[in-house]
Structure formats: structure tokens, C-alpha cells
Subunit: 155 residues, 2 copies
């Protein structure tokens, strides 16, 4: 049960795109910014495009740019874009199989174990949805040099 490293890459890259002022940044620059494998980073960014967080443009001077301001992007958006929206607890309904499952009448209502795990998962989602990228950006800005540094490294 671990998140792919694409999540970390995506968040930092989105923040970098927010701080940079050039219209669009290509995969090579974004990868060099944090020494990431360019082709694989590109794969993750494509997921962000598919999820509607980024827009991409091809050709020279092409690249990726934010589809909407960081005030409207939550950590949940990023996690779901990268990891997919399948629930992390997969209920295979084992309660309906084996000697117990065969003896039981067809159970009424959903599996209680599944429901309990879903509640916890919902708490996680809500905690993620409650944190926008703008909030993290604000924390970053408490160190005053970051924006300037990022721009000089990217533009």
C-alpha cells in the first residue's frame, strides 16, 4: 500500500508551473528541474492532461501549462489523476464463498467490512480535498526566494 512516486513528481511539477511565468514548459525542462527521468515524467503529465489539470501544446515552444489556477486544484485531484479512482480496498466478497458463504443465506445489504474501509477511505479523500495547491504554495512563499529561484531555473 504505497503511492507511486508519480504523485510527488506531479505536485512539485504543478507548483513549478504555477511559479514559472513562461507560457508553457516542456518535459525536458520540467524533468531537469528535479532530476527526474524525462520520459516517465511525461507519462505522469499525460495523466494530468487526461484528468483536465494540465493542457498540452505541441511543436516548438510547446509544453504543458496549468489548466486552471492552483486555487482550484486539490491534492485529491492530483492523487486521483495519477493513481486512478479505483478504491484502495478491494472487496472481493469472500464472505459469500467457502463453507461460510455457502451456508449463509444470500446476505442482505453491503459487506460491513467494505463499508468500514470505505468510511476510512472517505476521510482520507476529504483530507486531501481540503488542501489546495494554493495552500502549499502559500507555505512555500514564506521563504521569499523560492519564486525567483524557480524562475531562474526554468525560464
Amino acid at each position: 500500500m504505497r503511492l507511486g512516486k508519480g504523485v510527488e513528481w506531479a505536485v512539485h511539477t504543478l507548483l513549478n508551473l504555477n511559479m514559472a511565468e513562461s507560457g508553457a514548459l516542456g518535459t525536458p525542462q520540467l524533468a531537469r528541474a528535479h532530476d527526474l527521468p524525462p520520459a516517465y515524467l511525461n507519462k505522469q503529465l499525460q495523466l494530468l492532461v487526461k484528468a483536465g489539470l494540465l493542457v498540452s501544446s505541441v511543436g516548438p515552444h510547446g509544453g504543458f501549462s496549468l489548466a486552471r489556477p492552483v486555487e482550484e486544484i486539490t491534492l485529491l485531484d492530483v492523487v486521483l489523476a495519477i493513481e486512478g479512482d479505483e478504491p484502495m480496498f478491494r472487496c472481493e466478497e469472500i464472505r459469500c464463498r467457502g463453507t461460510i458463504g455457502e451456508l449463509s443465506p444470500r446476505p442482505t445489504g453491503p459487506c460491513q467490512v467494505k463499508s468500514a474501509m470505505r468510511r476510512a477511505e472517505r476521510a482520507w479523500h476529504e483530507a486531501l480535498a481540503g488542501q489546495k495547491l494554493a495552500d502549499i504554495q502559500a507555505e512555500l512563499d514564506e521563504e521569499p526566494a523560492v519564486r525567483r529561484i524557480v524562475r531562474s531555473a526554468l525560464d
Copy 2:
């Protein structure tokens, strides 16, 4: 980012052990109860033993039994026992690498992205810790036949 199926197996098996009244149940019976691969289920149960949720006894009439009542076992205990206690978001400190990392002075304080993800993870843990196995057992008991069925399938 998905939990192993061992989590589902563990929760149902712990509940079965709670409902059964025989002193200890072996892997074969517990596996037949839900038609699970016995050897792999055994692997998961060993994790529960290592975490202190189960006690095991060898020899004939041996097997697994609860180490403490279900009122004192939370879903968090089970998840941590099966999945391990490493955090699901692995911060690799990419902010300190690449052109941005080299330009920046050594950053003060922890990574804000990591902190945000940790907050969400804590919410998940708290939601898991707030649900005891006894609570799920109580929901199961609303269908009155379950305990009798489980006993007749296991004992």
C-alpha cells in the same frame, strides 16, 4: 495504490475467530471458511501474530486464536499488521535535486508537500483507529443467524 487482499482476509478471519468458540482454529479450517489459498492465508496470519493480534499454538488441536478481545482491536491495527507501517506517501526529497535543488539554499523545515500528504494520511489512520472490530461484529449480529452459521461451519 491498493491494499493487499490480505487485509480483507485478515478482518474476516479475525471476526470468524471471534465468533467461533473452539479454543484455536488451524489454517485449513480458516481457509476453507472463505475458500482462500491456505498457505498464503497462513502467511498473512503470521503477520498478525508478529503484530500481537493473534497467538499461535502448534501440534494437533493447535492453530490461531485471538490475542485480545475484539473491543481492543481496531482496523488500524489490522492494516498496519498486514501492510506494514511505512507511510504510503514516500517523500524522496526531489525538491533538493535537479536545477532547482542546486540553486536553492538548503531548505529549512520539512517538505511542505510531504507534510500535507502526512496530514491526509493521519486522517485516514484516525478513521481506521476509530473503528473497532467489535463495532463491525455488532453490525453483523443484526442478522441473527450469523454466529450460529459460522460456528456450524468452523467447529
